[in-house]
Symmetry: C2
Subunit: 342 residues, 2 copies
């Protein structure tokens, strides 16, 4: 139950070689003076006998690389993010990296502390999802030479790389879908207004409406939160037919599904006969036949792949410029938007 912690020195002693030999025998990339096959065998046998396992911390202390990547998420309720996290972990593991995962604490002071914690562990890089960093934190990362890749959020700091879907374009698609369906009174339920995703989608949405000569009929804010989404939905739809939208864009599926439930079961509205609904993300829920939510697709796999590519590029060579990847959005048409009735 103790921790006898067998070290490379122990292995060396048993194998009758020097500690350096052991180190080299376990080194994946033999640099200069290597080790003969015979002694390597001997060493590996000794190591196996003792149950030796190299200490990654001690190694990192010397090599200055931990092969640990900090991963900072705000929450996992939204399956889009759970999905992304799973893909990120798998991707990192595949490359021999490891994910030190943090969930965003509530207060902003704690955020600083959290990121500071991450940095103390000498992570090689940082991936954030749905999180913004204060400029002080950005500066800290820059000083430590830690590349940062943001998923699903952009920020004007020139240090940060990012991967997003074309949120503005996606917003346009959503508007197009509702207008084409013949909706006249068009509403919008936003997320948290501080989030670039929410803002950009809203911008694209209203821009497209304007381009088609239509004005936004009503607007509410769901804050990416289910309870507040319910309230927002009630506020917007608990009215006589002429006073409520006949089409609504909810800026992500997570909220959209909840909004649909409120409309159907709380207010007795039919979808899409009374109200057409468009979401964003194309989460698994959108494809459930019960919802059949028409939505703007974010290509999660591609997003994660891109994020990892950006990160690895910056891990392997220093001084690579930040890059902003914007992936195309696609409209997934299902049954929550009514067909045009000519």
């Amino acid at each position: 139950m103790k921790r006898p912690n067998v070290t490379s020195v122990d292995v060396a002693r048993l194998a009758g070689v020097s500690q350096s030999a052991v180190s080299r025998a376990f080194s994946k990339v033999p640099t200069q003076s290597s080790v003969s096959d015979e002694t390597r065998k001997k060493i590996l046998r000794a190591a196996d006998e003792l149950g030796y396992r190299p200490n990654a911390l001690a190694r990192s202390l010397i090599t200055q690389r931990t092969r640990i990547v900090g991963v900072l998420f705000s929450y996992l309720d939204n399956p889009f993010y759970a999905n992304a996290l799973e893909l990120i972990c798998h991707g990192l593991q595949r490359q021999g990296y490891h994910a030190l995962v943090f969930m965003m604490p509530d207060t902003l002071a704690d955020v600083e502390a959290t990121v500071s914690d991450i940095l103390q562990y000498q992570v090689d890089g940082l991936i954030t999802a749905s999180v913004e960093l204060s400029s002080k934190l950005c500066e800290d990362c820059r000083e430590q030479g830690i590349p940062v890749v943001m998923l699903n959020r952009v920020q004007d700091n020139p240090l940060l790389s990012s991967v997003t879907t074309d949120n503005v374009g996606g917003g346009r698609l959503a508007a197009g879908a509702l207008v084409s369906a013949g909706c006249k009174r068009i509403g919008l339920i936003a997320g948290w207004e501080g989030a670039s995703t929410s803002r950009d989608r809203e911008f694209g949405f209203t821009a497209e409406l304007a381009a088609r000569g239509i004005e936004l009929f009503s607007r509410a804010v769901g804050h990416f939160d289910l309870v507040r989404t319910e309230e927002a939905t009630r506020e917007m739809f608990d009215r006589p037919a002429a006073a409520r939208p006949d089409g609504v864009f909810v800026v992500n599926d997570y909220m959209a599904v909840r909004a649909m439930d409120v409309m159907r079961f709380g207010l007795g509205l039919r979808i899409p006969q009374d109200v057409s609904v468009v979401g964003f993300d194309d989460t698994a829920m959108a494809d459930l036949p019960t919802y059949a939510l028409t939505t703007v697709r974010q290509p999660v796999r591609q997003m994660v792949d891109s994020a990892l590519r950006l990160l690895f590029e910056r891990l392997n060579q220093t001084g690579v410029e930040p890059e902003h990847v914007i992936l195309g959005a696609r409209l997934m048409e299902r049954e929550s938007v009514r067909n045009r009735t000519p």
Copy 2:
């Protein structure tokens, strides 16, 4: 862009003190010889000026504690696990610990490699969810003195602690719900048969049926996988009324919701008029009015709290015996089970 990596020695030089003083100034728990308030101020000022951040790796190398906990999950598709992971991360952070998260790779050989990886990073403890460990791995953990807590899975190895819901009792509740509703032909859709959760729930379910003099009408296996669940559901329900169940227990909500969709939209069955459905977990999805799934509740929060408690107890004192916590299951009655028609 380089990594000048300011160290405690640099701070010491600037502050005009020794490196030990710096170390002690940053030590949370002053052990013996402490540092005066005056010099501490001086040191902190110097540290701030240089942007010093203690190197957690070097510290861990000495203290033999990393404050890192390995977290091993098999997948996050099922929101139950996403939820659990979020809670675990928050709980660890709150105690100043950090989660090194791994997702289960596909092949078993990779599992060994993965856990080996985890151990190389000298984690203080290990939490697994919905994962079993080979006896070799258990042995490795024991040798390193690493406490292991399994969430939602039990295993007969005497080293491991575990936290589960009373799956047998939960299975009984499910059976009771269907029988009380007057179901006569009762079916079961299992998960992956190697999983203790699935086996225990099934055992409790059939035991309760037997106790009430009822025999299982039909059985299929969903493997905790959506596609295979669809197939299983079709196989079981795509038959004339008398040849299919009028009540079914699906061993988790994740599969249950999918099964409901297949029944309703693929086969035109009404729930609960044609078929009553009971799930397990009480995921957020079960409470969606669209599904209103009667289900057996697993108290995720309590489960995570217990798991963390078990872990921390074993981190702080050595030699604590393994413990198995079994939390009570509760039936959440909604509308997917029909009322008894007397």
